[in-house]
């Protein structure tokens, strides 16, 4: 258990450092990289709680897919660092206010009766054979079937929204159609005609 505690504090320190660097880093790419580090360390903390499915899903979904696209976009932005720094103090009160609000909310939640000592101690110790993923899956399709379906609906709405926002009508689309390109045959493009090599006239010479 001693080793686990050491690991916990180690990961927490890295997580806090990375989270601070996300907001303090000057270079936006560095900020995104620290965000990735923060996600990864959070996944490690979940792993310590034996929630391996959640931890690995966090790495796979957020680090493996979402953050790659995020990094992509940030890398392509042409950001003027000097101009960004200029307005720092103008936005500072707003940012600080939001930060304090979030800290207060977290304090209220963590101080509520759900996080009291006795409810935390009631975490059941799992059998060595139990598979976290299997248990989670069974719960999702039995006890939490409706919330699960609702979440799926919300995601579906998001997908439809994304498609509706970016869909271009076919007459506006300029991209070539690969199916037609692949199906093309030489006869469509090229016509061989046989012509005599010289004109059979006798006027010029």
């Amino acid at each position: 258990m001693h080793g686990m505690t050491l690991l916990f504090y180690g990961f927490s320190a890295i997580l806090l450092y990375a989270a601070c660097r996300v907001v303090s880093a000057r270079n936006p790419v560095h900020a995104v990289l620290h965000l990735i580090l923060a996600f990864f360390t959070a996944a490690c903390l979940w792993m310590l709680l034996e929630a391996e499915f959640l931890a690995l899903a966090l790495i796979m979904v957020y680090i493996g897919a979402v953050m790659v696209l995020f990094l992509f976009v940030v890398m392509m932005l042409d950001i003027d660092l000097a101009r960004l720094r200029q307005s720092f103090w103008r936005y500072f009160p707003l940012g600080a206010g939001v930060g304090i609000l979030v800290a207060l909310e977290m304090g209220l939640t963590l101080g509520s009766r759900f996080f009291r000592e006795q409810s935390l101690a009631a975490l059941p110790s799992r059998a060595a054979e139990a598979s976290n993923t299997r248990e989670l899956g069974a719960l999702l399709v039995t006890d939490y079937a409706y919330p699960f379906e609702l979440a799926a609906l919300v995601l579906l709405a998001a997908i439809v929204g994304a498609v509706a926002l970016t869909y271009r009508k076919s007459f506006l689309r300029r991209s070539p159609d690969p199916e037609r390109q692949v199906r093309v045959s030489a006869a469509d493009r090229l016509r061989l005609v046989s012509m005599p090599a010289e004109k059979e006239e006798d006027g010029v010479c």
Binding site: V29, I36, E52, M60, A65, V68, F72, S175
Partner: protein
């Protein structure tokens, strides 16, 4: 073997470490196992480059490397030495820290995934419960090495290569993931050793024809999708637009030299070997022998992986490079609908009386 060594060393080591000895022993033994995995892997990478040059050479009616050592067998060693002694040049406009970090970020996940890969019943470093999930999660980290290399080099060509590579990896990961979902469904576990075990039972295995029970037959479309996506994931020909020489010189690693450049190559070839081993584990029965009369063993896994690696080389010698939009079309419009459809087919199949995987 570990037990015997432990018994043998205990009287001698107790004086040195006292009560900590079991912990120290566990650490040492795990380190020894890691070395036993990584060392052959590195050798495999070295000789995969040799095999690639030889195989493609013979396919193109050339000899391939044949000067260093007998049959050119020492060529990979010579190449490695050459790369070790070369200078690592950091371009003046590059982001120095990320430029150095990127090759490491690309190699580290390529090695870390091997922690959960089983080689036979007993030969496995960590037989974790969510092994397949771990493989997918850590495998998806490899893309950062490529993206950061492209960005940190501060060069247009490198950046274009990095963008192509990452878009490609992210899109093919989806089809790959769906193909694996079906494997997990039919074998009922995320544990790699359990997935192999589930292929050793069934109608074919009862008749002594083990290869009919492996997942490749009932999941044939997914087997193809998985392997082709694996080729695309590793940025190998015919999906190697990320380093398309004719357009962007060498892609994301155009500004790298010496050992930093070699690390990218190590990562790429280690990933190729990983895809080959995983295809053999998930679809070709892992270490189980094709016919019941032969004993199971790690050599079957090696033989199947070598066959898969040969396909990688064969593809490279045979197919011309895909155009970029066709790669995206194949991933999104062909593979993903195909895997989703076959997922439904398998799900319905499992509920019918003809369920093969009870």
């Amino acid at each position: 073997m570990g037990e015997i060594a432990f018994q043998f060393l205990t009287p001698w080591a107790d004086g040195w470490f006292g009560a900590l000895w079991p912990t120290v022993w566990l650490t040492l033994w795990t380190l020894a196992k890691i070395v036993a995995i990584v060392l052959p892997l590195m050798l495999g990478v070295a000789y995969l480059t040799y095999a690639e040059r030889k195989v493609i050479g013979y396919m193109q009616v050339r000899l391939g490397p044949n000067r260093v050592g007998p049959q050119g067998l020492l060529q990979p060693i010579a190449d490695a030495l050459k790369l070790l002694f070369k200078e690592v040049v950091v371009p003046s406009g590059a982001n120095r820290r990320l430029f150095i970090l990127a090759p490491m970020l690309s190699l580290a996940p390529a090695l870390a995934v091997w922690a959960v890969v089983p080689f036979s019943d007993a030969m496995i470093l960590a037989d974790v419960d969510a092994g397949l999930l771990y493989l997918l999660a850590i495998g998806s980290l490899g893309v950062y090495g490529v993206v950061l290399a492209g960005w940190a080099s501060n060069s247009k060509y490198a950046f274009l290569g990095a963008m192509r590579a990452s878009a490609q990896i992210v899109s093919y990961e989806i089809a790959m993931g769906f193909a694996l979902v079906a494997v997990v469904m039919v074998s009922g576990s995320l544990k790699l050793s359990a997935i192999v075990a589930s292929q050793q039972t069934g109608m074919g295995a009862a008749l002594g024809m083990n290869f009919l029970s492996w997942h490749w037959l009932p999941l044939f479309p997914l087997f193809l999708v998985y392997f082709i996506s694996g080729v695309a994931e590793t940025n190998r020909a015919p999906f190697d637009v990320a380093e398309g020489e004719s357009e962007i010189v060498a892609g994301f690693h155009v500004d790298y030299s010496g050992m930093a450049f070699a690390l990218f190559f190590l990562a790429e070839y280690a990933e190729m070997i990983l895809i080959a081993v995983l295809t053999s584990l998930l679809f070709l029965g892992g270490w189980s022998s094709p016919l019941g009369m032969f004993p199971d063993g790690v050599f079957w896994l090696l033989a199947k992986s070598c066959l898969m690696l040969f396909f990688f080389l064969w593809f490279r010698a045979t197919f011309p490079r895909y155009r970029y939009d066709q790669i995206m079309r194949l991933g999104w419009k062909v593979f993903i609908p195909l895997t989703v459809f076959w997922l439904f087919v398998v799900a319905i199949w499992m509920l019918t009386p003809w369920n093969l995987w009870k």
